[in-house]
């Protein structure tokens, strides 16, 4: 049941994430460019941690899961190339929340595969949902929006759904929710910092 809830919901209705000013601004076409840039730079660091996590999952995955995870890993690697081309990490500090966020992904490697995969799925679903609701205010934002709402990524995430659905019963919902809440709180911390950077323009 909870799987369908996360599948159908806009953003997870946890930690009041939808009410966060960053999400409100992103979805109403009012996100300052500097805030977007600051967020993307943090995304570059998070991408590093995410790719390491994808490689870990792929080592643990049963044969029938490998292809989808390998395509996802390639997609994220391509994202990093694009981010690095357009955003200079040297212009923005690494936020403490970003550092902690990355550390959470390292900790996730200790979890059983079904839980780790389910978290990976929820993370990407949520990220995609943010872009589906976004109203871009500059070209770079438009690019990310188009990429993450593209049919290609939509299909990839639908394939990821099919991996998670049968193993959902092996996941303790409490463990799952606890980590999702932790990630959302850190993400909101990053959003807050990014908005501050935007306000400083």
């Amino acid at each position: 049941m909870m799987f369908d809830y996360f599948l159908s919901t806009r953003l997870p209705q946890l930690e009041s994430v939808s009410e966060h000013p960053f999400v409100q601004r992103l979805s109403s076409g009012n996100l300052p460019s500097r805030a977007f840039t600051a967020w993307m730079v943090q995304g570059l660091y998070i991408n590093d941690a995410l790719i390491r996590f994808q490689a870990h999952l792929l080592r643990e995955a049963p044969p029938s899961h490998r292809h989808i995870l390998a395509v996802l890993m390639l997609t994220l690697s391509e994202d990093a190339d694009w981010l690095e081309e357009h955003f200079n990490p040297l212009h923005y500090p690494l936020y403490p929340e970003t550092e902690r966020y990355c550390r959470v992904f390292t900790d996730l490697e200790r979890l059983p595969y079904p839980l780790a995969l389910t978290l990976n799925w929820c993370f990407h679903r949520t990220y995609q949902q943010l872009w589906r609701e976004a109203v871009p205010t500059n070209e770079l934002m438009e690019f990310m929006c188009e990429r993450w709402t593209s049919e290609e990524i939509q299909n990839l995430l639908s394939r990821l759904d099919t991996l998670v659905r049968p193993i959902w019963s092996q996941v303790d919902p409490e463990d799952f929710l606890q980590i999702i809440r932790q990630l959302l709180r850190l993400e909101m911390g990053i959003w807050g910092e990014a908005l501050n950077a935007g306000a400083g323009a």
């Binding site: 390491r52 792929l58 390998a70 890993m73 390639l74 690697s77 690095e84």
Partner: protein, 209 residues
């Protein structure tokens, strides 16, 4: 044949052993078409187990790789996954256990992981290239093997391997070729034992028929 001179020099330094596998009796019998389909299927199962080890090795490299190398490494991993999926679609029998030579490869890859990233890049390239150099001398009537050969030698994966050779070449710029003598000799020993295993599988099938 090779994109730049440093990987070529490394190969030349070990040319005798590097080229020796093409003349292995198993490959000669494959060229003659004198290996039974059953034996080829069993060999492909062992190739699947090798691919699994290789993929894990590659994922370890990818976790250390700088951002600019990751797309290429992710493409290589995806290709290995596709090859494994293809082998599974050919009905290989995973109830056939991995040959002990696979465990020796596993230990080799684990030891390599302790090397610095630049060394890993060179050994990653060498492991693919040694196998490829032997395989591409084949002209085999077996359709499954033809499909594998086409996959590795032509088109997209050929281009990916070329890019990997370029990375290896860059890595060699600040390294002494002699640093690779020991790991390459170990790789050659493993390749020897791997082709010996293949021959043993073929001979066992001969006796069974």
């Amino acid at each position: 044949m090779y994109p730049t001179h440093r990987v070529q020099s490394l190969r030349d330094r070990h040319l005798l052993r590097w080229q020796s596998f093409a003349a292995h009796p198993f490959l000669q019998r494959l060229r003659e078409g004198s290996i039974s389909p059953v034996a080829i299927a069993r060999w492909l199962t062992q190739l699947y187990y090798f691919d699994e080890l290789m993929m894990r090795f590659q994922l370890g490299i990818l976790r250390q790789a700088p951002r600019e190398h990751r797309v290429l490494l992710a493409q290589i991993v995806l290709n290995m996954v596709e090859e494994m999926d293809w082998l599974l679609s050919q009905g290989i029998d995973l109830s056939d256990p991995p040959d002990p030579s696979r465990q020796t490869y596993q230990a080799f890859f684990q030891d390599l992981q302790r090397l610095p990233y630049s060394h890993l890049t060179v050994m990653h390239w060498a492991t693919h290239q040694v196998f490829m150099d032997a395989l591409k001398t084949l002209d085999t009537p077996d359709e499954r093997l033809q499909a594998i050969l086409e996959r590795w030698a032509d088109g997209e994966f050929g281009a990916i391997l070329y890019d990997l050779a370029v990375l290896a070449d860059e890595a060699l710029e600040h390294l002494d070729l002699s640093e690779f003598d020991a790991p390459l000799n170990r790789l050659f020993d493993l390749e020897d034992s791997s082709w010996e295993m293949a021959l043993r599988i073929a001979e066992e099938a001969d006796q069974d028929s």
